[in-house]
């Protein structure tokens, strides 16, 4: 694709660039605080207890945000994650109902997710010309389809033994367990992406795949690894989702991929690759979660909430672009 202007990568990040990036994240924090203030103003029931109680359902989508950020930085996209969640949740539920202990069921969920991710990765690395969007669209249909077949005519399965699942949906004080798990994964994924050679390689591939290849970066191996890791995270997501749903059905996980992409994009991660930081995505993820909880509490029409999210999504990219063009003109 032509016109990759404005995408720079350098060994020593220049000062002004760094300060600008820093500002994006600090702006996200500002926005996060603002959203919370707003929610407290409009909803009398918006308090820390209620937010933590409502949060798990939204938080589990964050498991998908982390690997999605990697995939977007690579310049790829994966819209099959929701379907992987559905398939993993289905398999884990079926296993549990057949008397498999919880830990084994958990492993099954994660392995099923990994296998699905591996399928995506294998197809995309064997046929590098294929657009990831279409491949993952096809696998999305297939994974949902397999789950549908496995679920049978009822299209829904209910756990007969919820003991293990109750443990992971429990709370420590008023903070749900899943919150801590998300934070741990957030730290791991952020550190790997921003502080290691592997992370730099990911950015290198996203900035210029050919150049990265010729400078010795194992492009396809990294892509395969990341797509597989995405499947793995989808498996973990499925496990926590099962703990909320006490089972699975054919609509489980539908639309998760768009939520994850929206969180990442809102956090400043570019879909054309090579740009953005996971920290921004994580803060934006929490911002969106809080906004949706707050607006939900004043019983706003769900489609209006989506309109607001849509406007925010575009504004987050449009406003800086316009202001940049404006300042450029002024100084020119």
């Amino acid at each position: 694709m032509a016109g990759k202007s404005g995408r720079t990568i350098s060994n020593t990040p220049d000062k002004s660039l760094k300060s600008r990036l820093l500002c994006w994240e600090s702006m996200m924090i500002l926005l996060f605080i603002l959203v919370n203030v707003l929610c407290i103003c409009i909803s009398p029931t918006y308090n820390i207890r209620n937010v933590f109680r409502e949060m798990p359902k939204y938080l589990i989508e964050m498991f998908l945000l982390f690997p999605m950020a990697y995939i977007l930085v690579l310049g790829d996209i994966d819209i099959s994650v929701g379907a992987i969640v559905c398939l993993s949740a289905t398999m884990a539920s079926i296993a549990t109902n057949n008397g498999v202990p919880f830990l084994v069921a958990a492993v099954i969920a994660i392995v099923v997710g990994m296998l699905c991710g591996l399928v995506n990765g294998c197809i995309l690395t064997m046929f590098t010309e294929l657009p990831p969007m279409i491949v993952t669209l096809a696998t999305q249909i297939i994974f949902f389809g397999i789950a549908e077949i496995a679920l049978g005519s009822g299209g829904s399965i209910s756990l007969t033994d919820t003991a293990g699942y109750k443990a992971i949906s429990a709370k420590i004080g008023m903070v749900p367990v899943v919150f801590f798990v998300v934070i741990v994964f957030a730290v791991i994924f952020t550190v790997i992406l921003s502080r290691t050679t592997f992370g730099r390689n990911v950015y290198a591939i996203g900035s210029n795949r050919v150049a990265a290849y010729y400078s010795g970066v194992p492009v396809q191996r990294i892509r395969l690894l990341i797509f597989t890791a995405t499947g793995l995270m989808a498996g973990i997501c499925a496990l926590f989702l099962t703990s909320i749903l006490y089972g699975a059905n054919t609509t489980t996980g539908k639309g998760f991929e768009m939520d994850a992409i929206a969180m990442a994009v809102f956090g400043g991660i570019s879909t054309s690759g090579g740009k953005g930081r996971l920290l921004g995505g994580i803060i934006s993820g929490f911002t969106i979660v809080c906004l949706r909880i707050g607006l939900g509490q004043i019983n706003m029409h769900p489609q209006l909430i989506l309109i607001i999210l849509g406007i925010l999504l575009i504004a987050a990219v449009l406003v800086p672009n316009i202001s940049m063009a404006f300042t450029k003109k002024k100084t020119a």
Binding site: G154, I157, K254, L304, T327
Partner: protein
């Protein structure tokens, strides 16, 4: 210096955008729907409120149900009901909605469930928080509800539809079912009831169910499925579509092709008025449905009776539903209880003109 200025500008713009977005949404909601106002009122009163959770937004059937629910709540308590639509027609989305209602401290939740089992955890939370949980239109499993407002007995719908098929086919021949999705709780229960009726009663022995097709409640897929049924089974006599989107799509296909195959099932009069008629030019001789407004009204009376302690949801109890008369809580056969509204209502050429403007 320039960068600093730029970054400050960016911050300001985004903040402004956010505020503008929020401001505009407040205007639109205030002018558009009364439920937002309601919510604010009820939340300002800090506690109480009767909530209805629908299956999805933008569906006139749900809307009429909500209308009946709000009217009765307004009449009984003087406050407006909280009507909540989930973002999508999934159980996942309903969980978010119920969580939000628990936060608001409502006193009752009446829900049309998108999945029978998936809401168990969150509804148990709600009941632990002292909220009276009932279902209407589409039930959850017996552990996650106190009682269920059933629009018509499942078995009754099954036999009614089989009677209609028997009547239209003239006693023998092939028929097919065009359903919604493979996991639609209601449709599956009704289809099972139809199959059971076929097995238990000898008079249906000459009828043959050739296929259950799924149109996913999408007009396009329902059209494809109907056309496939027509070409795969040339001897087909009747299609039965117990779903509002499916029946309208199938009716259009049959009527446009001037097919001899006739249609019956469950559909909205306003959607189906064009296709109902006795002659060959119309594809559907008659169909059934119940009054969604009454389903909503009875749901509201049940919620109110649960909150006031008139009933606890145990079988054998009875209560008065305003001008609708007395109702009894009966055993639903799945371990829980239900309140049955009445028999499904028949729409035929003689009354369709009158009903198509109502819902």
């Amino acid at each position: 210096m320039r960068k600093k200025l730029l970054s400050m500008l960016m911050c300001m713009c985004l903040t402004a955008a956010l505020l503008a977005g929020c401001g505009s949404k407040e205007d639109t909601t205030a002018s558009k729907s009364a439920d937002t106002e309601t919510a604010e009122e009820t939340t300002e009163a800090s506690n109480g409120g009767y909530a209805l959770v629908t299956k999805a937004a933008g569906n006139p059937y749900n809307e009429k149900m909500a209308e009946g629910f709000s009217d009765v709540i307004k009449e009984l308590t003087g406050t407006d009901a909280i009507i909540k639509h989930p973002q999508a027609a999934t159980a996942d989305a309903q969980i978010e909605v119920i969580n939000s209602l628990i936060s608001q401290g409502v006193s009752s939740i009446c829900i049309a469930a998108n999945d029978e089992n998936a809401l168990q955890a969150v509804l148990e939370d709600a009941m632990n928080a002292g909220i009276k949980v009932s279902c209407l239109d589409s039930k959850t499993n017996s552990d996650s509800r106190m009682t269920f407002v059933n629009q018509a007995g499942t078995k009754e719908i099954g036999t009614t539809l089989m009677e209609a098929i028997l009547d239209i086919t003239g006693g023998e021949g092939q028929f097919a079912i065009l359903s919604a999705t493979s996991q639609a709780t209601n449709q599956n229960a009704w289809i099972d009831a139809m199959k059971e009726a076929m097995e238990t009663d000898d008079k249906y022995s000459k009828l043959e169910l050739v296929e259950v097709a799924y149109g996913d409640d999408e007009p396009q897929k329902s059209t494809d499925q109907t056309q496939a049924l027509l070409s795969n089974y040339p001897d087909l006599k009747v299609i039965c579509a117990p779903t509002t989107v499916g029946i309208a799509a199938a009716a259009k296909v049959l009527q446009d092709q001037k097919s001899k195959v006739k249609l019956t099932g469950l559909g909205l009069p306003s959607e189906m008025a064009e296709y109902i008629g006795d002659d060959d030019a119309h594809s559907c001789p008659y169909m059934y449905l119940w009054n969604p407004i009454d389903v909503g009204r009875l749901g509201a009376y049940v919620s109110s009776a649960l909150v006031n302690g008139e009933i606890t949801g145990a079988a054998g109890e009875s209560f008065t539903a305003g001008d609708m008369g007395d109702y009894e809580v009966v055993d639903a056969g799945d371990g829980g209880t239900e309140v049955i509204l009445g028999a499904p209502f028949k729409f035929d050429p003689s009354n369709i003109e009158e009903w198509k403007t109502v819902y």
